[in-house]
């Protein structure tokens, strides 16, 4: 069966390799020093979706909710092989917790129309909550398989996958449409294709098209429309959906739609308890090992 697969991804600050430079003097995180990246498990989700398309036919649509700059990951999705991309972006979405986010993404999925499968990464590395996937499934009334490592088959409207459970594995089957959350599997996400990179680097949203012409005398709406048409024809058009276009209820999005509020944030103080500095020499390391054995810490 041919599959229409929606992949929801997130652009995240690269929190994986935070060094001293990413911390400000007052001990807070310097976001600007962290590169914005494609959330790693969402790349695994996209890879899985592309593989399913390769074996079953169909198409892969990648959506993200984020600021205008999040189009960077959508272009990357195109470089990897996505067919269509959607930016869900509006200032009104800002400050959303997972409940407001899943509501917004559910509205985007409904707006997209008919699909067979939604695939998301299990969690994003900035929040690590793993909540948006199951919440999105609930909002859309879809069955869910979480912690999916591998999809084994798709037949007769049912999908079979191997999932991680506490202390083991489970092979489970779900009716379609369904939602999967994915952990990193055997196959690493494919790199951007060089040809596709050349082809899709000019992909843009309406806002980006407007910005491109902001300083020129490009006032003729017909010309903009023509350019949009040309971009669409070349599959270079990134859909851009706002709160208004999605018809979201204002009390369910952004800060207003978020039951959880941050009371306070403490940066982690790196004041040490003071440690014994062991120089990395044979002699000093020998002495340390000897000491630990004497204290029965090593045996």
């Amino acid at each position: 069966m041919s599959l229409t697969i929606l992949v929801f991804a997130k652009q995240v600050p690269d929190t994986q390799n935070i060094t001293g430079q990413a911390m400000k003097e007052d001990g807070t995180v310097n976001r600007a020093a962290l590169p914005a990246i494609f959330n790693p498990e969402d790349l695994c989700a996209l890879e899985l979706a592309l593989q399913l398309r390769e074996s079953h036919g169909g198409k892969v649509v990648v959506g993200t909710m984020g600021p205008p700059g999040a189009t960077a990951i959508l272009r990357h999705a195109l470089y990897m092989g996505a067919d269509e991309t959607i930016l869900v972006s509006d200032r009104k979405f800002a400050g959303a917790d997972t409940l407001a986010t899943s509501y917004t993404l559910a509205s985007a999925a409904r707006r997209y129309g008919k699909f067979d499968l939604i695939v998301c990464g299990r969690q994003a590395i900035d929040g690590d909550t793993a909540q948006v996937g199951p919440q999105l499934a609930e909002k859309l009334d879809l069955p869910q398989l979480t912690y999916v490592e591998e999809v084994q088959s798709v037949e007769k409207g049912r999908l079979r996958a191997r999932c991680l459970i506490d202390g083991g594995h489970e092979i489970a089957e779900t009716a379609l449409p369904a939602l999967l959350t994915v952990v990193s599997g055997e196959q690493p996400p494919r790199p951007a294709g060089a040809k596709r990179l050349m082809q899709f680097k000019k992909a843009m949203t309406r806002s980006e098209l407007m910005a491109k012409h902001a300083n020129s005398n490009y006032e003729d709406a017909n010309l903009l429309a023509e350019e949009e048409e040309a971009l669409r024809a070349k599959r270079l058009w990134i859909h851009e959906w706002t709160a208004e276009e999605l018809g979201t209820e204002s009390e369910r999005i952004g800060l207003a739609g978020s039951p959880t509020k941050v009371k306070n944030i403490e940066s982690v103080v790196l004041a040490g308890k003071g440690f014994v500095n062991i120089p990395p020499t044979d002699q000093d390391i020998g002495k340390l090992v000897h000491e630990l054995i004497e204290e029965h810490i090593l045996s």
């Binding site: 390799n17 199951p134 092979i171 489970a172 952990v183 690493p188 403490e266």
Partner: protein, 341 residues
């Protein structure tokens, strides 16, 4: 206003498998009981499964005043749709104030679905929970006796205190090993409330074909010595060195999330807030920078040796012994020194 209504009880979702209660659930019963005492309410457990009546006694002994039991063969294994339906109905009927879940794959798949249905706030992976007042500045009101949901965020570089400002329940997940487990009070009794379960067509959407529970290849949880590798190890080949040191000193192999995410070592070995919390006699951290999330999982080790070539690495803040140097040179020296002891 919710603060004027009679306050609800503290609930704990009990995760069980083949007649055994998950450790994290018992830890949460202990914590839940503390919170309930503070709020002067009851501690109640929610137990779903098949032929699980035998587990009730133990839940009473750990501190539950009442156990809601939904016993049905369809509920033998966790399945998101029927479990969510049973729990959402119970919450709507009894209105708990606080609802605790273990941050296991099951808890992290179930709690969000329940929260979404109830339009309740949910905070993942809390490391600390306490009761306090909250001044909601945006709505100019003070909420009394709210659950402070404390968790590391942003790669563990900040600690955030989060509060649910909407209707109860206040829902959280908590990792295994974070809350201390107290001894049960033998013979302590309590109530049981049976919950009716009726199958629905939606329960057939997901079918479990096969289940395998592997004995954890890493016996990290109870290891007395742990040798852990991080991103600084540099690759799967480099990880062999970590394994070698662990083998020589008779320890278990641990890892930071960066090393697990890089695919150099299996997730079973991950120490930290999104992995296993450990308390060994000796913890040797090799090439681990030491995010708060990692430190949260190992800070209570007896002694910590940190090996890192960056003298500014946060791991040194929890170290008893620090070796600033290249682990590829330092670890072989440790192996050599131990063999020559």
């Amino acid at each position: 206003m919710s603060s004027k209504r009679k306050i609800g009880n503290v609930w704990i979702f009990i995760e069980q498998d083949e007649g055994r209660i998950a450790d994290v659930s018992l830890e949460l019963v202990c914590k839940g009981r503390d919170l309930a005492r503070r709020l002067k309410v009851k501690t109640e457990a929610v137990l779903l499964g098949s032929e699980v009546g035998g587990l009730v006694q133990s839940l009473h002994e750990y501190g539950c005043d009442n156990v809601f039991v939904a016993d049905h063969r369809r509920l033998r294994y966790f399945s998101a749709l029927p479990y969510t339906r049973v729990i959402v109905d119970l919450v709507r009927q009894h209105r708990p104030n606080i609802f605790l879940f273990g941050a296991t794959p099951t808890g992290r798949s179930l709690a969000p679905r329940v929260a979404s249905k109830l339009l309740a706030g949910l905070t993942a992976d809390c490391t600390e929970l306490r009761i306090d007042d909250f001044e909601d500045k945006s709505r100019k009101q003070t909420l009394h006796d709210k659950l402070m949901q404390i968790r590391p965020a942003f790669g563990g570089n900040i600690i955030a205190t989060i509060v649910n400002t909407w209707e109860d329940p206040q829902m959280v997940t908590v990792r295994e090993g974070v809350m201390p487990l107290r001894d049960p009070e033998k013979g302590r009794g309590g109530a049981v409330t049976e919950v009716k379960f009726s199958e629905q067509p939606e329960d057939l959407a997901v079918k479990i074909i096969e289940r395998s529970r592997e004995v954890k290849s890493s016996s990290l949880k109870n290891a007395q010595i742990i040798v852990s590798g991080g991103y600084g190890v540099g690759g799967a080949a480099g990880f062999k060195l970590i394994e070698r040191l662990a083998e020589v000193v008779g320890g278990a192999v641990g890892a930071s999330r960066a090393a697990v995410d890089a695919g150099w070592v299996d997730h079973d070995h991950q120490v930290g807030q999104t992995g296993i919390t450990v308390r060994p006699r000796l913890y040797i951290a090799c090439g681990i920078s030491g995010s708060v999330q990692h430190r949260a999982g190992m800070a209570e080790s007896g002694k910590v040796i940190a090996i890192n070539d960056d003298p500014e690495a946060p791991i040194f803040s929890v170290a008893d012994y620090g070796i600033v140097g290249n682990l590829h040179e330092v670890v072989p020296k440790l192996i050599k020194a131990y063999k020559e002891k």
